[in-house]
């Protein structure tokens, strides 16, 4: 009945092949128009959902104090000394030129630092470096010493060894870019900075210039992914896939049709995604490779049967009808489970991962549709040559089947033991999301940032907002003392590289106001004096600077900025706790906010795992139900849980052994791979069942039959899947490369489980059921693992 409908459908496709081809082309063209809505975002905040508590805390802090997007020019003189007239002259030139940076509001360097000192009753505020060419050796020494003893400069804009310096450009990037111009703001700024950096090196060949800062990071997200797309996708589409297809089908027409089919699916998925308002992001950029990988599997199944039938003497039409009859349901089933698996990524707390899942889900859906419409129709109008012999490799599987059946009594317990051993390493995995490490070392931003943290300052920071709750409350001596105590303690913490605190400025002003007497480098003891110092300081700030980067508008809160060494997420969370503990123990009367962009990343791993878990569970339940329904067996449906879940568990165990750092991309792998690995199980179990039910074979012979019929197909599709996901590991984007590595591992393990563990399990289960004699203790033991 069902078969009849599929046959009628297949005949219809063949009769109307030109129409089907035409409609396919029209539909792809229609979807491609979605590219006109193509959009991108260069902002790390896309990784956070709008209600993410750490994002809200950080945005709240940015509203209260001024926002700080920046470009940092890191400058290293080859002669190792910043304080030479030439270098200072270039620095001064760069400082001046950098004001031309689009959307810049402030440029800070050691040359334009507003050096304040007292001369009797006179308070002099001037640029730290003036007319570098006229400076004597002593002057240079003196200026250098001032710079490295100034808390606002040292370990921020000048290294303690005077070997590296920086020019910081603060930019005001639109919060919620709407127009094309606003969206490109980050790129325009970055390009300006790059050109300026080149000019500096041309002007003064003694200098090396590197670029880091928030803007450079934000711009690196789209740049790195576009680079990936332009290098990795061609490898996959024009080398791996054709070679693999050729190996499987040995037919030029077959290779061409499957490449076209996948191209359509990829373009269509992206077009639809843009129609739905999607935008380009790092993770989404690897979807073409995944769609390609998944689409190949559909094409392979149809082509292999089609060519097999032709080899047996069928006409093209007959062969295609038979191929669709045999493959329609399995392909539909595996597509559905794959789609469910990828859709489960929507439960994640990381919006770009939703996009990743949704694009692939659309692509897999399209690949299914085009494999049963466009692919057969096109094959009907293309010349198909068939070689008489089947590839030899098809017979290797028979031997493997025999071996597994013979060794099943050893395989089952040893596999179970091995699994327990590997799974025991899962707790070794440690959540870690360091945004600098999202980029591989080949990305200039990563290399420059690593250099910067080694030689000058950290890119990671944490802001601590200490609130009095009273307008002008920050001038209270008790409060200032608490902030100062905290700042001094924080300075001693091994994770902390630099502390920016208003209390340093207070102390310096107190000293300045007492004729630079070092005795007076301490906090003012009266509230009104402190307030008046603040007013004095406020009146002396240069253009583009105000107190709001450290003090809120009504002067009720102060923000202390800690610049950190490169910390893992866990270390950062520990630091966060320590900050709260310090205030609880020493100044519990003040309310506290702790936030920063890397604090957001530190929390995202844990949040994401929790949210992804629910998605994975839903996918698991749905997929298991589909399996039970498709196999018409509750028992086998339950049994299939083992080969479906064990691979991910083993992969995470291996990861725990070998790598142990888990970033936000990995938490979705379980749900995602579930939809893929289940395909192997479906194919193997359905062939096994057919042998048992239709051919009345014994469990052993049914296993043998399954190996013969789908063993090779599963092996080769696994190879292409592993190859596809392995190509993702070449990504310059760690999130993609880790996801690719973990998925490749999971899929490879899944095949091993299907071949070495599933058959012995099946035989064990079915023999027992058949003979109702043996105990099931052994099985219970192995399933419990």
């Amino acid at each position: 009945m069902k078969n009849k409908r599929v046959v009628a459908y297949a005949e219809w496709i063949i009769r109307w092949r030109w129409l089907v081809i035409f409609l396919s082309l029209v539909s792809v063209a229609a979807m491609i128009t979605g590219f006109s809505k193509m959009d991108f975002k260069s902002d790390y905040r896309i990784f956070f959902s709008k209600d993410n508590p750490q994002l809200l805390a950080f945005e709240d802090m940015q509203d209260t104090y001024s926002k700080s997007d920046n470009v940092l020019f890191v400058i290293t003189p080859k002669n190792g000394d910043v304080f030479t007239p030439d270098t200072l002259e270039t620095l001064q030139w760069l400082t001046e030129e950098a004001w031309q940076t689009p959307l810049s509001t402030r440029v800070d360097s050691i040359t334009n630092f507003q050096y304040t000192y007292a001369d009797g009753d006179e308070l002099i505020v001037e640029d730290l470096v003036q007319q570098p060419s006229s400076l004597s050796k002593q002057d240079l020494q003196r200026i250098g010493d001032i710079a490295i003893s100034e808390p606002l400069l040292v370990n921020r804009l000048i290294a303690e060894d005077k070997g590296t310096t920086a020019v910081n450009v603060t930019v005001e990037v639109p919060d919620d870019p709407q127009t094309a111009e606003e969206k490109q703001a980050v790129m325009v700024i970055a390009n300006f900075a790059r050109e300026l950096a080149q000019k500096v090196e041309q002007r003064n060949p003694n200098l090396e210039v590197r670029l880091t800062g928030m803007v450079m990071m934000n711009v690196s997200f789209p740049e790195a992914t576009i680079k990936d797309l332009s290098t990795l996708l061609p490898i996959m589409a024009f080398i791996v896939v054709p070679v693999f297809m050729w190996f499987m089908v040995r037919s030029t027409s077959g290779v061409i049709t499957s490449v076209l089919l996948n191209l359509f699916s990829i373009l269509g998925a992206w077009g639809l995604f843009f129609y739905l308002g999607g935008y380009l992001s790092g993770p989404a950029m690897s979807t073409p490779i995944v769609i390609l990988t998944m689409g190949v599997a559909d094409a392979v199944h149809i082509l292999v049967t089609f060519l097999q039938q032709m080899r047996r003497g069928d006409s093209k039409q007959q062969a295609m009808v038979e191929s669709l009859r045999l493959n329609m349901q399995p392909i539909f089933l595996t597509s559905i489970t794959t789609i469910i698996g990828f859709l489960s990524m929507n439960a994640s707390d990381v919006p770009p991962l939703h996009d990743f899942g949704n694009i692939v889900a659309i692509g897999v859906g399209l690949a299914f549709i085009y494999s049963v419409t466009f692919l057969p129709a096109l094959l009907m109008v293309m010349p198909v040559k068939v070689r008489s012999k089947e590839p030899k490799a098809y017979h290797w599987m028979d031997n493997l089947g025999d071996w597994v059946i013979a060794k099943r009594k050893v395989l089952l317990p040893s596999f179970a033991l091995l699994s327990v051993g590997v799974i025991a390493f899962i707790p070794n995995n440690e959540l870690n999301d360091e945004f600098v490490k999202y980029f591989s070392k080949e990305v200039p931003f990563r290399a420059d940032t690593d250099y910067t943290s080694e030689h000058l300052t950290g890119i990671y920071n944490v802001f601590v907002s200490v609130k009095t709750g009273k307008a002008n409350g920050i001038s209270e001596p008790e409060y200032l003392k608490a902030v100062d105590d905290f700042s001094q303690v924080a300075e001693t913490w091994s994770e902390v590289r630099h502390v920016e605190t208003i209390t340093d400025i207070m102390k310096r002003l107190n000293k300045n106001m007492h004729a630079d007497d070092p005795e007076w480098y301490r906090l003012p003891e009266r509230k009104d004096l402190a307030a008046q110092y603040l007013l004095l300081y406020e009146m002396s700030l240069p253009q583009g600077l105000d107190l709001t980067n450290q003090i809120n508008l009504d002067k009720s809160s102060v923000r202390v900025g800690l610049t950190l060494y490169n910390l893992s997420s866990n270390e950062l969370l520990v630091l966060e706790d320590r900050i709260y503990d310090w205030f609880n123990n020493n100044a519990p009367q003040y309310e506290l906010d702790v936030a920063s962009s890397n604090m957001m990343f530190a929390h995202i791993g844990e949040r994401n795992i929790k949210s992804s878990l629910s998605g994975t569970l839903i996918a698991l339940v749905l997929i298991s139900l589909i399996l039970m329904f498709a196999l018409r067996s509750f028992k086998l449906g339950m049994l299939s849980l083992i080969p479906n879940l064990l691979p991910a568990a083993l992969a995470f165990g291996l990861w725990g052994m070998l790598v142990s750092n888990v970033g936000m991309g990995l938490s979705v792998v379980v749900g995602m791979t579930l939809g893929i690995v289940v395909d192997d199980t479906v194919h193997f179990l359905s062939k096994y069942l057919r042998a048992r039910r239709e051919k009345n074979l014994s469990p052993q012979d049914a296993v043998r039959y399954a190996f013969q019929t789908v063993g090779m197909a599963l092996t080769v599709t696994t190879i292409v899947l592993v190859a596809g996901f392995y190509i993702m590991t070449l990504s310059t984007f760690t999130m993609n490369s880790e996801m690719g590595m973990m998925t490749a591992m999971t899929i490879a393990i899944a095949l091993i489980v299907d071949f070495l563990l599933l058959p012995p399990l099946l035989i064990k289960l079915e023999e027992k059921q058949h003979e109702k004699a043996t105990t099931d203790s052994e099985l219970a033991e192995s399933t419990a693992s």
Binding site: L123, L535, L553
Partner: protein, 260 residues
């Protein structure tokens, strides 16, 4: 002779529209006229409330009093006394502004009971954390800028000259200002400030002008919007008094301590 007189009188009726005038000359002429009309007030006193508005809409207010002394052929002298917040009450700031040299500044901190001279070439920094910089608030002097008349326009229905000014002080924070000067009274109704990269930084709108001593217009509301940072400052002036009997001696370092 008669003809010449006629021509002259016609010219005086249309002082700014003579035929051979360049845009620069016309700009300068407008600026001269504006300065001319604001000369002779001698000294003044007023109260001011400064309201700071953050990007997210939070506000904070300060109250100050300002005394000004007109100085011929140089920038005016001004004395600013802080009344609120309470912690800075009595703090006084004396400034002698100059067109092309650094201003001279003294600050008296009552908690320290000391006057400090502040030497800085910087005029582009913010005044009291507001969106007004020192150079925005110091008196208008002809030689502070070079000028160029752009075109006529209207602001709130009033015909205005649009004149571009280019700061002559080397440490100015601006490349140029665009002033909208009303044609009848030569009051600046609006100013746009362009930063060092020639991008629009701020817009100042002056309103609620009142006439004093029959000659001198003073805006009672000055709203400065910073377009790049999304912040704003509103100055509200009140209790203007003119010719209050103060002189040079009241604008000296020694007078600062006596201020209450």
């Amino acid at each position: 002779m008669k003809k010449l007189l006629l021509t002259l009188s016609l010219l005086s009726l249309l002082p700014l529209n003579s035929l051979a005038e360049t845009a620069e000359e016309k700009g300068l002429a407008i600026a001269k006229e504006a300065e001319q009309r604001n000369t002779g007030w001698n000294n003044s006193k007023a109260k001011m409330v400064m309201k700071l508005i953050s990007k997210s809409g939070d506000t904070s207010s300060r109250q100050i009093r300002v005394q000004s002394l007109e100085v011929e052929n140089d920038g005016d002298k001004s004395l600013t006394i802080f009344d609120e917040p309470k912690d800075v009450e009595g703090t006084a700031f004396l400034s002698f502004s100059h067109a092309q040299r650094p201003d001279e500044q003294w600050l008296y901190l009552p908690a320290l009971k000391r006057v400090k001279r502040i030497s800085s070439s910087n005029k582009s920094g913010p005044f009291m954390g507001s969106e007004f910089s020192f150079e925005d608030l110091s008196s208008f002097e002809l030689e502070k800028y070079d000028y160029k008349y752009l075109h006529d326009d209207e602001v709130d229905g009033k015909p205005v000259y649009v004149v571009e000014s280019y700061p002559t002080y080397e440490h100015s924070g601006y490349t140029r200002l665009v002033n909208y000067i009303d044609q009848k009274e030569y009051r600046i109704l609006k100013t746009e400030y362009y930063d060092r990269k020639n991008a629009l930084l701020k817009t100042l709108v002056n309103s609620e002008y009142k006439l004093y001593l029959d000659d001198y217009w003073r805006a009672h509301k000055m709203e400065m919007q910073n377009h790049q940072k999304g912040k704003a400052t509103i100055l509200t002036w009140s209790d203007y008094e003119f010719q209050t009997g103060v002189d040079e001696r009241d604008f000296s370092k020694n007078a600062l301590k006596r201020i209450r």
